[in-house]
Symmetry: D5
Subunit: 187 residues, 10 copies
Amino acid sequence: MSLINTQIKPFKATAYHNGKFVDVSDESVAGKWSVFVFYPADFTFVCPTELEDLADQYAEFQKLGVEIYSVSTDTHFSHKAWHDTSAAIGKVQYPMIADPTQVLSRNFEVLIEEEGMALRGTFVVNPEGEIKVMEVHDNGIGRVASELLRKVKAAQYIAAHPGEVCPAKWEEGAATLTPSLDLVGKI
Amino acid sequence: MSLINTQIKPFKATAYHNGKFVDVSDESVAGKWSVFVFYPADFTFVCPTELEDLADQYAEFQKLGVEIYSVSTDTHFSHKAWHDTSAAIGKVQYPMIADPTQVLSRNFEVLIEEEGMALRGTFVVNPEGEIKVMEVHDNGIGRVASELLRKVKAAQYIAAHPGEVCPAKWEEGAATLTPSLDLVGKI
Amino acid sequence: MSLINTQIKPFKATAYHNGKFVDVSDESVAGKWSVFVFYPADFTFVCPTELEDLADQYAEFQKLGVEIYSVSTDTHFSHKAWHDTSAAIGKVQYPMIADPTQVLSRNFEVLIEEEGMALRGTFVVNPEGEIKVMEVHDNGIGRVASELLRKVKAAQYIAAHPGEVCPAKWEEGAATLTPSLDLVGKI
Amino acid sequence: MSLINTQIKPFKATAYHNGKFVDVSDESVAGKWSVFVFYPADFTFVCPTELEDLADQYAEFQKLGVEIYSVSTDTHFSHKAWHDTSAAIGKVQYPMIADPTQVLSRNFEVLIEEEGMALRGTFVVNPEGEIKVMEVHDNGIGRVASELLRKVKAAQYIAAHPGEVCPAKWEEGAATLTPSLDLVGKI
Amino acid sequence: MSLINTQIKPFKATAYHNGKFVDVSDESVAGKWSVFVFYPADFTFVCPTELEDLADQYAEFQKLGVEIYSVSTDTHFSHKAWHDTSAAIGKVQYPMIADPTQVLSRNFEVLIEEEGMALRGTFVVNPEGEIKVMEVHDNGIGRVASELLRKVKAAQYIAAHPGEVCPAKWEEGAATLTPSLDLVGKI
Amino acid sequence: MSLINTQIKPFKATAYHNGKFVDVSDESVAGKWSVFVFYPADFTFVCPTELEDLADQYAEFQKLGVEIYSVSTDTHFSHKAWHDTSAAIGKVQYPMIADPTQVLSRNFEVLIEEEGMALRGTFVVNPEGEIKVMEVHDNGIGRVASELLRKVKAAQYIAAHPGEVCPAKWEEGAATLTPSLDLVGKI
Amino acid sequence: MSLINTQIKPFKATAYHNGKFVDVSDESVAGKWSVFVFYPADFTFVCPTELEDLADQYAEFQKLGVEIYSVSTDTHFSHKAWHDTSAAIGKVQYPMIADPTQVLSRNFEVLIEEEGMALRGTFVVNPEGEIKVMEVHDNGIGRVASELLRKVKAAQYIAAHPGEVCPAKWEEGAATLTPSLDLVGKI
Amino acid sequence: MSLINTQIKPFKATAYHNGKFVDVSDESVAGKWSVFVFYPADFTFVCPTELEDLADQYAEFQKLGVEIYSVSTDTHFSHKAWHDTSAAIGKVQYPMIADPTQVLSRNFEVLIEEEGMALRGTFVVNPEGEIKVMEVHDNGIGRVASELLRKVKAAQYIAAHPGEVCPAKWEEGAATLTPSLDLVGKI
Amino acid sequence: MSLINTQIKPFKATAYHNGKFVDVSDESVAGKWSVFVFYPADFTFVCPTELEDLADQYAEFQKLGVEIYSVSTDTHFSHKAWHDTSAAIGKVQYPMIADPTQVLSRNFEVLIEEEGMALRGTFVVNPEGEIKVMEVHDNGIGRVASELLRKVKAAQYIAAHPGEVCPAKWEEGAATLTPSLDLVGKI
Amino acid sequence: MSLINTQIKPFKATAYHNGKFVDVSDESVAGKWSVFVFYPADFTFVCPTELEDLADQYAEFQKLGVEIYSVSTDTHFSHKAWHDTSAAIGKVQYPMIADPTQVLSRNFEVLIEEEGMALRGTFVVNPEGEIKVMEVHDNGIGRVASELLRKVKAAQYIAAHPGEVCPAKWEEGAATLTPSLDLVGKI
């Protein structure tokens, strides 16, 4: 069964966030839009470029009321050390969740059991805790923050406008469709 | 467990393809790159815009040696009738798979059991039959063919260049990374 | 065990009916006689001739207080498109039930699992929701609406006249039999 | 699951046939078309009228190479006694199968468990032993031998003409349909 | 375990009795002595001679306050027809129970499963519903009504005279034994 | 299920027979007709009268080639002591089987579990080891040896004359019936 | 697990006692010391010498307030007959329990299942129903009543003198030991 | 089930024997008579008096070819230390088995689970490894070596003289009984 | 799972302590620090040197409010005898627990099942009954009491100073560390 | 059951070792003595002091032919980054095993499931792969490398000198004990 439109499962984790260790849980993310960005491991290759790309666009997400959570199976100690020593990661201002118990990676079905690390999975979660968009890549293939931004906007738009849907290639401001019996078989 | 890097499961289906009914199976898709594009139902709203978008870029995919398969739980009779009567769908030249037994939709975990229809799921499959990229949207949110094209190119590039990985925002022709111990903790 | 004299099982479905999408359920059919007519798929061959035959006799059924429901595993979108584009189906004024979840086809034991389509099954259901007559054909063999009408009349007659039964070849207005001990071994 | 297109299950029974007790089994009915006509009990009401109606048309069935088997849960002793004493049943020249073990009535799913008697079920079986047509009535509603004859002819016609199907209301000699892709969505 | 001294199990059946169809059940036989006489089938050979023998002695049983119930797996329709057409059976004035559901034959463990008919079993049941005497023969061996009468009398005598027992060859009016410690080892 | 026409189960036992302790088993009784006569206990009341009655008719049984076996759950020591001290039992010349393991009493389903003693059960077994007649009484009701003799003769007669059956009240030398189709419904 | 210090299990039995049949149960033996003496069978060899030996010392046991119960799987009828006819057994004044249901022999784990008889087992039971001494012999080896008497006395002595124990070879009146920490390692 | 006449179960243990640690097992005790004497614990009260009593009579047992094995759940280290420091135990010349794994105490069903110590159990085992006599006491009651000697002699006598049995109170040299049918009911 | 930080399981045992037998249980050890020192057996080799080493340092442990419990599967009788006869063990003033039921050895997972003896295991338990330190050796390797003392002090220090931890080689009085986010990645 | 004397379970892991990533497995550690040192997480507090202490004594271990493996659930990327950035860890020359799959931490039963990190556990493994010494601390209590060195020496000494054991407080060069029966109860 797909994770789309299911409720995120309960979790409790520690994150490194702007120089502090903070608690994050399914309850604390409720009530606003959030994006969970899984990656394999701290101190590796594609990962910092992806996290830096998100850091660069973080202000845009903030404006939309969206929080970003990066997640790996490393500890919060490791996240802090990485943040201290990497120029790219040093830019990150969103919470970096530590998942050494691998509960979160299993919940989102991205854990590679034989490696103990996560796949590159991205999940857009609405304020009700329902997953609306998911995207998972083989670990060699990087993601693009701007495309993620487009999807978040589309998800927010249709949430705000019941009865409308976003057609292919929809960009913010473009026309949407309003399904009705008359349209059936006419597009 | 994630579908990423798993083998696609066996299936047999009938497709409408350029005026003919043809057989498609896990065996017939083996040996080349393929993209499976699930959508909810013929004669509906977002679907034709997505299928048209793909039809418009079909030549690009063909150049990369990639076949596109659209899939819904409608019958091949319905696909043929839709192709005959819709201007948008009339442009489609790739195979339109009929999945009334819902086997394929269950295999790719996109079936909405209580509706008997599929979610908007896209899957990039390599010639060995392994799923390398997956993307699933709530049905109100449309997809973008050009972004799919980028991912296919990245997947093909790393398959062709063992030892390299594509960083975030990678576009065809851009530099890739070659993981090595020296890079650990240095990006 | 036979379905005859069992209660129809719960279902919820959407139908296309005279230009509208309407809800149909086991509860909405209760309280009057109904006929469920299953067929394999929209846009096929025998099916429109059967549905047209029923459309032609619909007024007769209406006079008897009987509602007709045609059912296939296609969606209501497909039903609407077929109704719009086929002269034969365009005549249909009874509700065309969409069964993409295949619940109804399984309830009436007419689903061909390996095809995802229904057999040609006809079921007469009384106002109490009990199946009184059933008839199922291999898909190559068409049905006759007038014979169905005769059976409906016989079923209604014996429901209205407890203690009487309809002999072979009974037609409306003909004599019936009243079973009694004296008749035993005497016919 | 429907009995249509399933193989009849093994059985062994004794029948009364033209003044003799004979063995009948799934093996002895193989190789020619047959019709199984179940009814509740010897010495009852609707039953003799139905069996007589069939007896009257028996020559027609014989011409088509079809054998008729009537079946009830009575013993062969009872069948013989009924044949001896009833004018209507005295006309019967086809085998009257005794099913006191109720194996055959269970095989064809027409046994009313709480009565130990069968429903009025009719089954057309092809020479390969597959059920092609079935019809079951509540016990108060009689059957019509001529309609059965029409169905047998349609079943034989499509068996003899692969690729053709019989539309609604088809009678012997009328045109049939040959399904092809061009017809899809055109009737 | 033996059926002797067990309670008869619940049953509901229809019997042919003196020109009427009547209901018989475990409840309706309670409160008086009864004899259940099973036989294989109506219209057969040994059976009518046994039932006639019982019919001839029925007055004797009646005097003792004992009801006789004959039982076969035939229907009540068949019993009536047999009674109408057989001189021997025409004499029967006790209820002829129909057991087409085979519940009663299974309760008394006399059903021959592979034939759907009962063995020649006789059971004497006291007013409390307990089986006191049982006798079962292979179907080729007939029973004797006068011996049954002797057993019924012995059963009634010891029921009426607690503390006495009937020795071998006891006939009505003969001396009985009163067990006591003094008799132990003295006979 | 009835014991009639089943094979007797394996057993091994010790019997007291004409001043000796002998072994008896299912194998040693095979090949000739035998009668097993169960009774509750040595040194009791009805039992010696029954065993004496059989002793008096033993010569008749011997002439028919029939062996009698009396059986109780007492030991062979007890049988010997009873034979030594009781005038009635002193006459017994047939084997008295000891069944302290209660295997035989359970095999023939006559053990009263809560007393550890057998019911008064009589079983006629043919040379093939099949039970042809059974009779079980509540312990207060004695049996009659002459009636047993009649049944043994009937069982032997139909075994010797395949195709004939013994009607009710049949005595040695009387006419038997030969079942045939012509007789059906004619007696 | 050993039976020593376990509670005797519930039982109900009939015994022959001084010319009467009496009921004995776990409840009726409670409240005083008792000895259960199992033996294989009435009318055998070692058994009467053992029971006679106990009969000779019965007065001694009575003085100690101890009841003796002999037990075999024979019936109470057999016990009575044995008592009547054997000089040795005629001396017995204690209850002779009949155990044809073999419940008691199983409770005390002395039943030889393949013979239906008990081993030579002796059990001393205190007023609380707990087994304090047990002794079981292969059936060829007889027991000695005087040794049993010594054990009963020792059991009663330590029951009456908490804190003392009887050393090896202890006889009535001899010194006992009072365990204390000072004695540890000093004897 | 009783342990009498069962085979002793496999075991391996270490014993202290005349100044050495030796291995003892089911295999090493086979081929001669042996006696297993269980007691609760080294350094306790009744135990040394019992072991000393046996030590005093050890020459008698040796003459009969019988080995004695004392057993407790203490270790062989403890046995050695006890032997070194106790005058009574210092006399012991037979093997003292250590059973800290409690396997042997469980095999002979004398382990008190809630104390981890054995009951006072004595077992006579024949050269075939079968237990012929068992005796178990509550721990406060001591045993008598001379009575054990008598039982061993009786067990050996009947083993050497098949067909004879030892009556009650039998002492070496006394007459035995030879069971025969003539003796039944005569003692 | 590790025993560290689990609650000790319930137990009840007898110990030899300063010339007395005393009860020890999970409840009696609660409320103060304790050390459980398992060893294989009384009267052996390494064991007395270890117990003596602890006896020599017992005053130090007492000062820290720590009780020492030595444990083996020997009985308390054996402990007392050992204490009486060994110069080394004679020094012991702490309780010597007897564990013949092996419950405690199983609770702490140090029982060698095939020997019935414990490994050399040491466990430091805090006043809440939680195991804070464990150490288990193959039986040939002795332990050092002074190292145990160091660990107890460290465990007590961190219990008394929440938020501090003892670094490697910490000795009483040395500096400890106070974990804080600033220290992460800085040591 | 204790891990002592069990075989280490199979594992495969990546370690950071002197500037390289190397494979380590149960097979690669076989054939020489090894020490596994588990700790909670890279970049934390007690851990670097312990690892530094071991690094300082590494030459001593090397001389004894012993390899040290530190293990945490961090990745090898994290180990490398820590080694690069910490002065204390920079000294480490032994392999640092990465255990993100937590297989090794579970094998040695030190995983804290609810934290995804290991306890401070130390295990000495002999060349045959058997665990000879284990020590586990609550995470606040540091370990001492010199004490570990003493235990390794004792383990090696007794492995090299079968028949000797190391008493308490044994240091390299000190006398050992040779267990013999004469010593039992004498120390």
